[in-house]
């Protein structure tokens, strides 16, 4: 494994988004992984519609919350194609699901994997390199006060409550860390990213890790 790996260097990670006052992190995480994996496959990086997942993934609760696993299961089972964000823009509130004909262009999730990597963060690094950015669920209670730097303390793994996208890692310096894209805007943290120490399953980053196949 390389000592440092960042999918942003390959220009397959979209810019940081802002979920605003809507509990839609789970949709941002799933859509972020899908559009990156698509770009890794050689297609142009395109922002896909978070609002479509928010409105249409019926097993979830829109802005009131949801699960990445349920969203990915829905995408896989229904074969719904995610349309570009420009065609179904984000509104930060749950709306009525807009249907598109199968002939309409979009990106379908063919399959996905979901694993617990706790105690195996090195294998998770390998997974990231092989499969693309990973949708994970973390305990982000302490992130309310985060300004930047590498989180090494005060981040329990007991209560999963926030979905984010792991886009890289860096093990070159004194403290190895994960590079994680959040959806609270670019003014939060390190230009919208949070760094989490690798090892010890900090924030529960390795507990629920999903990789998308398109």
């Amino acid at each position: 494994l390389p000592g440092k790996f960042d999918w942003r260097d390959k220009a397959v990670v979209a810019t940081v988004q802002n979920q605003e006052a809507c509990g839609s992190c789970w949709a941002f995480s799933v859509v972020g992984a899908t559009q990156s994996v698509r770009a890794i496959g050689g297609w142009r990086l395109q922002q896909l519609s978070v609002q479509q997942v928010l409105d249409c993934s019926f097993r979830n609760n829109g802005c009131s919350g949801g699960s990445t696993f349920q969203a990915l299961s829905w995408l896989k089972q229904t074969g719904v194609k995610l349309v570009p964000q420009s065609e179904y823009p984000y509104k930060a509130k749950t709306g009525i699901c807009h249907f598109f004909p199968q002939s309409h262009g979009g990106v379908a999730v063919r399959n996905f994997t979901s694993h617990d990597f706790s105690g195996q963060e090195e294998a998770m690094m390998s997974h990231l390199v092989e499969r693309g950015p990973l949708a994970v669920i973390v305990d982000a209670v302490s992130w309310q006060d985060y300004l930047g730097g590498i989180i090494q303390h005060h981040c329990s793994s007991k209560w999963a409550n926030h979905a984010v996208l792991v886009v890289g890692y860096d093990t070159v310096g004194d403290i190895p860390y994960w590079i994680v894209q959040n959806s609270w805007g670019a003014s939060w943290g390190n230009e919208g990213y949070v760094y989490i120490k690798i090892g010890g399953n900090l924030c529960g980053i390795a507990d629920s890790v999903a990789a998308v196949i398109v």
């Binding site: 979920q19 006052a21 509990g23 839609s24 992190c25 789970w26 995480s29 609760n61 802005c63 009131s64 919350g65 949801g66 699960s67 990445t68 696993f69 349920q70 979901s114 694993h115 617990d116 990597f117 706790s118 195996q120 294998a123 998770m124 997974h127 669920i137 982000a140 209670v141 302490s142 309310q144 006060d145 985060y146 300004l147 930047g148 730097g149 590498i150 989180i151 090494q152 303390h153 005060h154 999963a160 409550n161 926030h162 979905a163 310096g173 004194d174 403290i175 609270w184 003014s187 939060w188 760094y195 507990d207 629920s208 890790v209 999903a210």
Partner: protein, 72 residues
Amino acid sequence: EAEGEESNRRRRLHFQDATKRHAYLNSFSTLPQSAKYGVNRFSDLSQHEFRELYLRASADTAPPFSGLKTQR
């Protein structure tokens, strides 16, 4: 107007609580690369409000990663 004043009072209290939290959290940040905690746009929210607004994901139990698959 009274409601506005009450809201402002609450926000100030949340902000004061946040300042105390920052001091505690930063006391563990001993290295230059360590995380820093401080005032941001969430500082006037109570921890409960923050959770209710932003921490709305749930996780389904995932099977442990079993490493490389072996082929017969």
